[in-house]
């Protein structure tokens, strides 16, 4: 039975944490999967043929894997995932991806992580996997409730920009905040989230003199 589950890439769900009405964390068995912080896995319902890519949210050393999921209205996958509970299974394909820190230099560099919505996920993994990382996070959301598990980060390193309410650290769009601040030109900048934000942020960073080779992007779609 276990072999058959392995064959079908089935992983048992250990916990589901609902963070907002539409966003949740699924924790499932790690089994023999290894990954680098920033990589993603394809996850789907147990009886379907479709999967979607999700950046890994949990730390590399955690004995389980977590993903952060936002329900897409009328979506093919997320409404099904949302209904799953502990004891159910998900199909999980092996972690892949290139949105990672340079292992040799990671503790010598300064990182600026810029995310919208659930694009915070790979940065959560990077921060939890590397407690000594010198990082700053700018997280763009609509309302402050989308600052998912923000207490997990060192508070002075985390800035929540909320565009539709004033309860974030900055009331307004992430890109406006980015325009207003000074950025260390030696920083490695990682962008994750929706494509429009990434394009706008890319222009701002270029204008601020951040070299292209220090800008890394992962589009969520």
């Amino acid at each position: 039975m276990k072999n058959n589950r392995n064959r079908l890439n089935l992983h048992e769900i250990l916990e589901v944490r609902h963070l907002t009405d539409s966003t949740f964390v699924i924790r499932f068995e790690k089994n023999d999967l290894n990954f680098t912080a920033g990589q993603h896995v394809c996850v789907g319902p147990p009886n379907g043929i479709h999967t979607r890519e999700y950046s890994i949210y949990s730390a590399v050393e955690d004995p389980y894997i977590e993903i952060l999921v936002k329900e897409v209205e009328n979506g093919l996958i997320t409404p099904v995932l949302k209904k799953l509970k502990a004891g159910d299974s998900v199909v999980v394909e092996e972690p892949v991806g290139y949105f990672s820190l340079n292992e040799k230099e990671k503790l010598n560099k300064k990182y600026l992580f810029i995310a919208t919505g659930t694009g915070i996920s790979p940065f959560h993994c990077m921060v939890k996997s590397n407690p000594d990382l010198k990082y700053e996070i700018i997280h763009g959301v609509r309302t402050a409730e989308e600052g998912y598990e923000r207490t997990e980060y060192t508070q002075k390193r985390y800035t929540l920009c909320s565009s539709r309410d004033k309860s974030g650290d900055y009331a307004g769009r992430l890109t406006n905040y980015l325009q207003e601040i000074q950025i260390d030109k030696d920083s490695e900048v990682y962008l994750c989230g929706n494509c429009n934000m990434i394009h706008d942020a890319y222009d701002i960073l270029e204008n601020k003199g951040i070299p292209n080779e220090q800008i890394h992007a992962e589009v969520y779609f």
Partner: protein, 433 residues
């Protein structure tokens, strides 16, 4: 045989099985008849239904037969594949471009990657040609470009054991094959999935080069399709070192705009691509370079397209496979609006083709008077001529009715040049080792 029987025969030969109802099918096609409007109306009704099914299942649709130009334009937007009956033999290839090489990848039954690939590698090779062979060395994709369905249909990158590949290369070279092409969706990512337990792609090429020296027969080895992200100087140094490694590099650009590359999720910047091209030109100056470009990708602006045109001007390709973007079922971008009009796509296609031909013509003219080696491949369309490829895969024809030359490497003196081809005169036939 009727047209429908011929289509069935080609699909059967490609490994597909006929099912009893359309609901069970993963590939559905129509051979249209435009004589009666009612029949065409039925086509629209069917494709509308099938396109709704695509939300819930893997489904590829095609249309062929007798189609009026006005309907053809509409069908282009509705069907995944449209082809004329003379193009029927290309149908498996067209399906392959959707990421399908065998029916397993269309199956709704989950297969593990290793089971699927075992079947894939175990397909007894049947070489259609007596002088050109293709060897699969790698399967699958970890890159997740948003325009492509391959990561969802082929699974993750898996490399074939190098001993098998090298044995096959040696066998083919000893049998006198003149070109061998190493195949993979990300061919130069070979070995990366094995965590150091398998040779890397440069090491594999080095071993292939050594076989070339041992066998002492002339043959050229190519590889396709590589990804710029995993292209390294090591690869170029090894290609430069061995005569049998073809001095033709395929390096897909897809777009010359940084933001479009991000939206395509290409995992490389234009700066990285430029640096790779500079290395390539420095290490193998005689190499010809081919590329792939998509025009009209979702939301591509005129300014972004202009960056692609500038890249085409800068990189001076010898050939570019330019595609007008069309959403591929299963790809991430399939969920986005195909926002660039067909008219704009056609315009951009024409501009890029023109830009490409400026360099190819100049390059081809520069070869006039040179004596070069050519693999004779077939009878040319021009009566009394044969045609072939140079080692850099440039098309060249020459006057000869000696069919025995087909499959041989000969020397031609280039006498004339066109935008995408050359003409030459037979100097001498290679003496077989």
């Amino acid at each position: 045989m009727s047209d429908s029987e011929r289509v069935a025969s080609v699909l059967n030969a490609a490994g597909c099985e006929r099912v009893e109802s359309e609901e069970e099918a993963n590939i559905i096609g129509i051979l249209a008849c435009s004589v009666r409007q009612k029949a065409i109306d039925k086509v629209y009704s069917k494709i509308s239904k099938w396109n709704r099914w695509k939300e819930k299942k893997n489904l590829i649709t095609f249309v062929s037969g007798c189609i009026l130009p006005a309907d053809k334009e509409k069908f282009l937007k509705l069907f995944d594949i449209i082809f004329t009956m003379p193009e029927l033999p290309q149908l498996p290839k067209m399906l392959g471009e959707y990421g399908i090489t065998n029916p397993l990848s269309l199956s709704s039954e989950p297969q593990t990657a290793s089971e699927e690939i075992k079947l894939f590698w175990n397909v007894k090779p049947k070489y259609d040609s007596k002088f050109e062979a293709f060897i699969p060395i790698q399967n699958g994709c970890n890159k997740f470009c948003t325009f492509c369905a391959v990561p969802y249909t082929r699974g993750r990158e898996i490399s074939r054991p190098s001993e098998e590949i090298l044995a096959e290369v040696k066998e083919l070279a000893e049998k006198g094959y003149k070109t061998i092409t190493l195949l993979g969706q990300n061919v130069n990512s070979y070995g990366l999935d094995k965590d150091g337990k398998e040779v890397s792609f440069p090491e594999l090429l080095e071993k292939v080069g050594q076989i070339g020296e041992e066998v002492q027969k002339e043959f050229w080895v190519y590889f396709t399709s590589p990804h710029p992200r995993d292209m390294s100087d090591d690869i170029f140094h090894i290609i430069a070192k061995y005569d049998c490694l073809g001095k033709q590099i395929h390096l897909p650009l897809q777009s010359g705009d940084e933001k479009v590359l991000i939206k395509m999720n290409r995992k490389h910047s234009l700066a990285k691509y430029r640096s790779t091209m500079e290395s390539l030109r420095a290490i193998i100056p005689q190499a010809t370079v081919f590329t792939d470009i998509i025009v009209g990708f979702t939301d591509e602006t005129d300014e972004q397209f202009e960056n692609t045109r500038k890249a085409m001007e800068e990189f001076k390709y010898n050939m570019a496979y330019i595609a007008m973007y069309s959403p591929r079922p299963g790809a991430a971008a399939y969920r986005w609006e195909d926002s660039v009009s067909l008219e704009d796509k056609k315009k951009r296609f024409a501009i890029l083709s023109e830009e490409l031909s400026k360099h190819t013509y100049e390059y081809n003219k520069s070869l006039i008077g040179q004596t070069i080696k050519v693999l004779v491949r077939e009878k040319d369309r021009k009566t009394g001529y044969l045609s072939g490829h140079t080692a850099g895969k440039l098309v060249i024809r020459f006057e000869s009715d000696n069919m025995d030359l087909i499959g041989q490497i000969v020397e031609l003196k280039v006498s004339n040049a066109a935008k995408f081809s050359l003409e030459g005169e037979l100097v001498t036939k290679e003496v077989e080792a």
